[in-house]
């Protein structure tokens, strides 16, 4: 005698196919499976129960709204990514009024002065690699800026290109460098955290 399986017996993929067919019961099962892990994930960042709940609600509402279009391979990974996105969306909306930004203030801005030989070495290496990887013209431009501390006007004269171009390119390079440094900083912080 065949017994109909309980919804908890269905795989994530099955449930996703079912919600694409408007199966509310399958959606409920997805909620049952993941609400806690997602709330947990959001709350680690927001440290605020009601804000965390808002974020998770949006994750699920969004999943239901896009159930017919979205192609999901791993539901848990998808939901965690969606939570991260909704947390950032919340941060943006609340104009940074959150504990989540503490790290920007306390860690990222001060780490540069931290007496960490590991950090210095890592950052120096990153910097050296980055300069080396620049195309010849940009490499030259950046070294003139860095070593000789020339103004953009003088660099433009020396390289015989418009000053605007120098300004633009240096701007792009500095921005790129900054994000790379931040990235490795975070990375190093993550590593240190795990030790």
């Amino acid at each position: 005698m065949f017994v109909c399986p309980d919804y908890s017996a269905y795989s994530d993929i099955d449930l996703l196919n079912m919600i694409a067919d408007d199966n509310e019961k399958a959606f409920e099962e997805i909620y049952e499976r993941y609400w806690h892990v997602l709330l947990n994930n959001a709350n680690k960042r927001l440290q605020d129960k009601s804000r965390g709940m808002d974020v998770i609600q949006n994750v699920f509402i969004d999943l239901w709204d896009r159930r017919k279009q979205v192609k999901i391979e791993y539901l848990k990974a998808y939901l965690l990514q969606a939570t991260r996105f909704q947390v950032y969306k919340y941060i943006e909306k609340s104009k940074g009024n959150s504990q989540f930004l503490e790290l920007v203030d306390s860690v990222l801005t001060t780490s540069f002065s931290a007496d960490s030989p590991v950090l210095d070495k890592e950052l120096y290496q990153l910097f050296a690699d980055w300069i080396q990887a620049l195309p010849a013209k940009r490499n030259k431009m950046f070294l003139l800026y860095l070593n000789n501390n020339l103004s953009t006007k003088l660099i433009a004269q020396q390289l015989e290109i418009p000053r605007k171009t120098v300004q633009n390119q240096l701007g792009i390079m500095l921005k790129d460098l900054k994000i790379r440094i931040l990235n490795s900083l975070i990375f190093i912080l993550l590593l240190n955290q795990q030790l």
């Binding site: 509310e24 609400w35 920007v104 990222l108 931040l182 975070i186 993550l190």
Partner: protein
């Protein structure tokens, strides 16, 4: 170095991220930044279980009302479920079970005994060269009320679709309808149709627990969910039913202008349009069959025949094993003429049958497996010496 990165710059980056304009490095940064908090406490662990469950239900309510979904039954889960269960219990307690003993009939090969000869082997060799004709297999086509058409066979296992929260899955050679017992009684019933081609057969487990075996070249239309009142399905061709008992909700099979009404029982209906009758055979329980103003009750072992010419005949003590042999993987003939036999074979082997001259009048009887090679099968008939076959492609010509 002074403050290389401010809150404002971070928020600008987040803004970029939300609108999907960040480059991979910037994205990496925000992802890493997010990951940095992975080992922080979440402030949830010091909550009591009750508080946590309240949060869960509160979120659920907001999600469900925002998406305009049917309100989940929070805190009262399974209420509807219990009510239906109680009804079911009462019903099954009151239902009557009548078991019958079926007697298998032994295989009698015509009136003549066949003897093995060289002739046989030659015949087999000749027929074996023909591989165009194959026995039927488990296959069918499902048409869902939203227009989707799904091919079913024993290979395509898994969930086929869901409708009105009822999960339709293909389970080997059986199509299964599972509902969540929380169906909305006011919903409009959705109808699905399963059809077998020539050379196909399939099984369906309906959402009320009724099991249906569908023979070749047949179709069954049925509601995805049964909403109380009558359980109505419509059949063409042949099917065997094991109806789940529910006294409160009679099960009705509509065949052309005939209705077979049951409360829970086992029966077979044969209504192929190329046969001269509709035959309803009862194996267990009781059914009432009505056609026009006429209505008849049947008891197990009876077969009610409505002939196309208008004659009605009730036969008692029929060999029910023979009637449902098809669902048990067998052909079972009992004093059947060659035309009757060939119609059955035709539906299963998907062959065209042609008669050269007058068809033989000999009556045949016997049991043959449905997986049998057509050549072996025809050979058995030829051994009687009363009939001969010629096979060309999928066409079979019958001679005296």
């Amino acid at each position: 170095m002074s403050n290389p990165f401010s809150k404002k710059q971070f928020l600008d980056l987040v803004k970029k991220y939300i609108s999907g304009k960040t480059n991979p490095e910037e994205e990496d940064f925000l992802h890493n930044y997010y990951d940095y908090f992975e080992n922080k406490t979440d402030g949830l662990s010091d909550l009591s279980k009750t508080e946590l469950m309240e949060m869960k239900d509160q979120m659920k309510n907001s999600i469900w009302s925002a998406t305009a979904l049917t309100n989940p039954v929070i805190g009262k889960k399974g209420l509807v479920f219990f009510i239906t269960q109680n009804i079911k219990k009462t019903v099954s307690a009151a239902a009557i079970f009548i078991g019958i003993i079926t007697v298998s009939v032994l295989w009698v090969l015509s009136k003549q005994q066949a003897t093995k000869s060289d002739n046989t082997q030659q015949l087999a060799k000749q027929h074996n060269s023909n591989i165009k004709i194959q026995p039927g297999t488990d296959k069918a086509i499902l048409t869902i009320s939203d227009g989707r058409i799904i091919t079913l066979d024993s290979a395509g296992n898994g969930i086929v679709a869901t409708q009105s929260n009822t999960v339709i899955s293909n389970n080997n050679n059986q199509l299964v309808y599972c509902n969540d017992k929380k169906i909305d009684l006011n919903s409009i019933p959705l109808f699905n149709t399963i059809s077998t081609p020539m050379g196909g057969q399939y099984q369906v487990l309906l959402s009320d627990g009724t099991k249906v075996w569908l023979n070749a070249s047949s179709s069954l239309s049925f509601p995805v969910n049964f909403y109380g009142g009558e359980r109505k399905v419509e059949l063409t061709g042949e099917a065997y039913f094991e109806v789940a008992k529910n006294k409160a909700s009679p099960f009705i099979v509509k065949v052309r202008d005939m209705d077979v009404k049951v409360l829970g029982t086992h029966f077979n209906i044969m209504s192929y349009t190329d046969e001269d009758r509709i035959a309803t055979t009862l194996l267990e329980g009781s059914v009432s069959v009505s056609k026009g103003a006429n209505s008849r009750m049947m008891v197990p072992g009876q077969q009610l025949r409505y002939y196309n010419k208008g004659v009605v005949e009730m036969k008692s003590n029929v060999d029910v094993e023979q009637v449902v042999a098809w669902k048990n993987g067998k052909f079972h003939f009992d004093e059947a003429d060659i035309k009757t036999i060939m119609r059955q074979l035709g539906r299963w082997y998907n062959i065209d049958v042609v008669y050269e001259g007058k068809a033989p009048e000999t009556l045949f009887g016997g049991i043959i497996g449905k997986k049998e090679n057509i050549n072996q099968l025809l050979k058995i008939f030829e051994l009687t010496g009363r009939v001969h076959f010629k096979i060309e492609g999928t066409k079979i010509t019958i001679k005296k």
